[in-house]
Symmetry: C2
Subunit: 577 residues, 2 copies
């Protein structure tokens, strides 16, 4: 009837299910959810129905409570569609709650760019969603806009500094601070600004990045207090002066106003899952040029307000989990107790190299036929990502995120693969069944967390930056070698000399492969990681290496998601998923 | 001690007073304020302490209540410092409340650009403020960001349309839709975008305007319902196709998603004055290229929830009040019952042409010496603005906004001037004394409103656009003639042919003079209004004429306000006023 393929029909039906479930959800008053966390009423600031901001005084108020278990949810190398880390984190939380534990989930706030571009909603799916879904996907409490405002205030003050020729005299060719926007707008990637007349500023090249890619967003996620936020903003390096000296946001006199603009944004947002578990949605740094993890302040509240805090780290375990361990935990001093590695039948078949999967398109029907051999063929990726978590002293539980199109023989293949390296793999059907579908996963996670972990960083602070990059590439990615460009070498020397050698590193590469080449599936070996450029996030406190083409401002397709979104006279929004 | 002049010291001391008063204010729970308006609890959505959004269902819920009196506060032609319309509107509301009436105030939401640039806070002053002041000045509930997001989504979809060569084929040289940002950033006024490679879009000229100048903001202020908002967004004309046909946001398929992005923004924000009168802060369209008045939906709630709704119209009576009458009231069908014209001793002395007043600088000491003759010399402006209100069938009350540096003889001069044309002028000291200081003003306004007005528009819908512009210029501004450029003539013919001839017009000119030349003070005569260009706001529903240099994106000074703003570890913000 619809002319869709069976796969496309299933996709459409799943989307409609998500919407129907989210719309019929009965929200509990957010004050009750806050009460479950033990957050005192005076720290709870409602922001519309079912949403509150939590004042950071909640951290002190909860400090006397025992710290819960800290669980990170990561994944094998995903297909362009994603493998369900968010739904698994939500489902696991609901499963833990069904087992009688106090459990909370901490997630990143999604960028509106992809929501309006290609991806649709980002609040989980099926019976494992955070609600109210529309608010999560559109503005939430405005934190992303506050980040963009702080970012763009600094940019305006930088160009104003140039215009009025203030001291220190900036070198216009060495200004690295761009502007930020939360829209997929390719035409703003590269611009010439300051055109017009004398009163319209100094002409120079510039550009925009998506708000999630802003260093301000990374800072928001890593700051431990308002005072820490203020200091980190001041340390941002925006470029260099005519003598080659780094110039900071503090010197541009922007950091105080930036912090004032972020006063509300630093307060974590509290929402709820469909089963009324507390959901902390706060900060959403990019997963390639930044660390791709939600905020430290939200985790602190969740950890002392629950028996278990479940959090998600962006992309595969080589990326999000690595940064969770080596950047986020290093910054906060918190240590994880267990890890979950999400795997799907479809992704393992994809890693066999026999299929093409494109974002925004339904899965090819060929991927859906029963084929446990293909699961085994793609299993190298699963084994490598298990090993990547183990490199940090933690044995993961593999969560097999079940899809209706899976076959039992294919699930069995994943269990066998995991068992071959002594790891437990558990089927979870949280999308269809909510917390009930994640009971086995929750039990396995409780067991693993109780067994205790021997957490360790992959590298010590004092290892030089170059060696840190090499260690991640060879130990986690499976690279044989790293090739630094001349530019990158010069930058690494400069940062090392300037005293940034103690920083952790963040490697910006494709998330679709363990390598920097998105077409190399499975667990490629014998390749060389090409480091084109290295940049400094002095405020956030890390150095990041660009490997391959990394775009920090997406574009829209010929038929963008936004073109299908509408709202009726009663305020019902359609097309958002 | 401080090395400041007496005038500068007074200014600093007033700022400190504002801050101290705002900080020590005891807010009532916002639910109680909503209750005073008669808004049912289910339509009240708290957004942090002391702030709520009101669902538009409140309009229907209040429809059975009698409509209160509708009072517009305008001013004589201001100095660059402003003459206190906002404080007068707030003080008058508090005065009406002291007299035992149910009174509310409706104000525009200030742009963050000036707050971080030159102007400082915009929530009133002294004992006539709306609180919480910090939230009003920084983000409030995010409406301005939502407007910018909707605006920039359309911009991204326009350039995406070009990039993917979609139908109708746009003429890149006739795209008028710019991008929006709520920061004073002169370097973004004129840019070239779409640079880089093929995948980075189509190179063309573009630019940014401040969010307040966005047509989306004008639409938000004029929309009467969500359905009306949706339709207006679809009617926005973004430019022309290769056949010279106008292309709308509906054709770009952006209007549905834009409306979804504005769902929360369309709900008026409820706050309170220091004396707990309801304050509706909603929408903030520019006062030159747009109509400079707060939203219609907020006024509807306030009018049916109070005996008196006081609202402020931007700039002098020739601008904000004219548009209040001829654009806002024409669109809503609501009619005003009385008007207040704010005058100050300092502004009338300024109109004598004997002084220089600069924004961001304290008043020159010479302006402060007792000099009633100078007040009389500048009085032509007061008389002309009284006449401008009377041209709409309403006799204003003149509010003499008292400053500590005024002299009684100077106040008497204003009373005499007003009396010479049969108008009452009343001293008000609401900044120092709150509502108690505005009792006489409140009494005069009650009397005037009870006398009944014979409200009329300045021109009928069917008058051609050119004649509408000429009528405003000659009848209100005192121009002898209007000179239309060839460009403007062509545009007017085009709009007239395209069926936009019924629209009201908005004249963008200097607000510092009745003429288009900011240096011509008093009430200049015998001059010609030069109309350089005419543009269409098809969604908002008006045509606007550009007279002289109108900048839609301000810049920062060498010592911007933002450089003085900071926040301490406890979250106390300094330097915001």
């Amino acid at each position: 009837m619809s002319g869709q393929s069976p796969a496309a029909e299933r996709h459409t039906s799943a989307v409609n299910d998500n919407l129907r479930i989210a719309r019929t959800a009965r929200l509990w008053p957010i004050e009750e959810i806050a009460h479950r966390l033990g957050v005192p009423g005076e720290a709870v600031e409602p922001y519309g129905r079912g949403i509150a901001k939590l004042d950071l005084s909640a951290i002190d108020a909860l400090a006397g409570q025992p710290r819960g278990r800290y669980i990170v949810v990561s994944a094998i190398t995903p297909t362009p569609l994603g493998e369900g880390k968010t739904t698994t984190a939500i489902g696991l939380t609901q499963g833990l709650q069904r087992l009688g534990h106090r459990a909370s989930v901490a997630l990143r706030q999604p960028s509106m760019g992809p929501t309006l571009g290609i991806k649709g909603g980002a609040a989980g799916g099926g019976h494992s969603q955070v609600v109210p879904m529309e608010r999560i996907n559109l503005h939430l409490t405005g934190d992303l806009h506050a980040v963009a405002a702080a970012h763009n205030l600094l940019a305006a003050m930088v160009d104003n500094h140039l215009h009025h020729r203030l001291e220190p005299q900036l070198d216009p060719q060495q200004i690295h601070w761009q502007r930020a926007i939360d829209i997929n707008d390719r035409a703003l990637r590269h611009i010439v600004l300051g055109l017009g007349e004398r009163v319209d500023g100094v002409p120079r090249q510039g550009g925009f990045e998506i708000t999630a890619a802003s260093e301000v967003m990374a800072i928001l996620a890593l700051a431990d207090s308002l005072a820490d936020l203020r200091q980190r903003l001041g340390r941002i390096v925006i470029g260099y002066d005519r003598d080659g000296q780094a110039v900071t946001a503090e010197q541009i006199r922007a950091a105080g106003a930036m912090a004032a603009l972020l006063k509300e944004a630093l307060k974590p947002n509290l929402l709820q899952t469909l089963e009324h578990a507390p959901a902390l949605i706060h900060a959403g740094p990019f997963g390639n040029i930044a660390h791709g993890n939600s905020s430290i302040v939200a985790d602190r509240i969740g950890l002392h307000g629950s028996d278990f805090l479940v959090t998600e780290a962006g992309f595969g375990a080589d990326m999000g989990a690595e940064r969770f361990f080596n950047i986020k935990c290093r910054t906060s001093g918190l240590t994880p107790d267990a890890a979950v590695l999400v795997a799907t039948v479809r992704a393992l078949k994809y890693h066999s190299g026999q299929h093409q999967v494109l974002p925004g398109k339904p899965l090819p029907d060929s991927l859906l036929a029963e084929n446990p051999q293909q699961v085994h063929a793609g299993g190298a990726n699963l084994l490598k990502q298990i090993d990547n978590i183990r490199a940090h002293g933690i044995t993961p539980v593999v969560a097999i995120n079940a899809f209706p199109s899976d076959h039992p023989s294919e699930h069995a293949a994943i269990v066998e693969l995991a068992a071959s390296v002594g790891v437990k793999a558990v089927l979870t059907s949280h999308v269809l069944d909510g917390g009930d579908g994640a009971l086995a996963l929750a039990e396995a996670v409780v067991e693993q967390a109780s067994a205790g972990a021997d957490f360790q960083y992959l590298y010590p602070d004092e290892l030089p930056l170059e060696a840190k990059i090499a260690r991640i590439a060879t130990r986690l990615y499976g690279a044989a070698d790293v090739a630094f460009s001349t530019t990158a070498q010069g930058q690494l020397e400069r940062y090392q000399q300037q005293g940034y050698g103690q920083f952790p590193v963040c490697i910006a590469k494709s998330h679709l492969s363990l390598s920097a080449d998105p077409t190399r599936l499975g667990a490629p070996e014998g390749w060389t990681l090409p480091v084109r450029e290295v940049r400094l996030s002095a405020g956030a406190g890390f150095v990041y290496a660009l490997c391959g083409d990394i775009r920090t401002l997406p574009g829209l397709g010929a038929d963008p998601a936004a073109a299908h979104i509408d709202i009726d006279a009663q305020g019902e929004i359609s097309g958002l998923f």
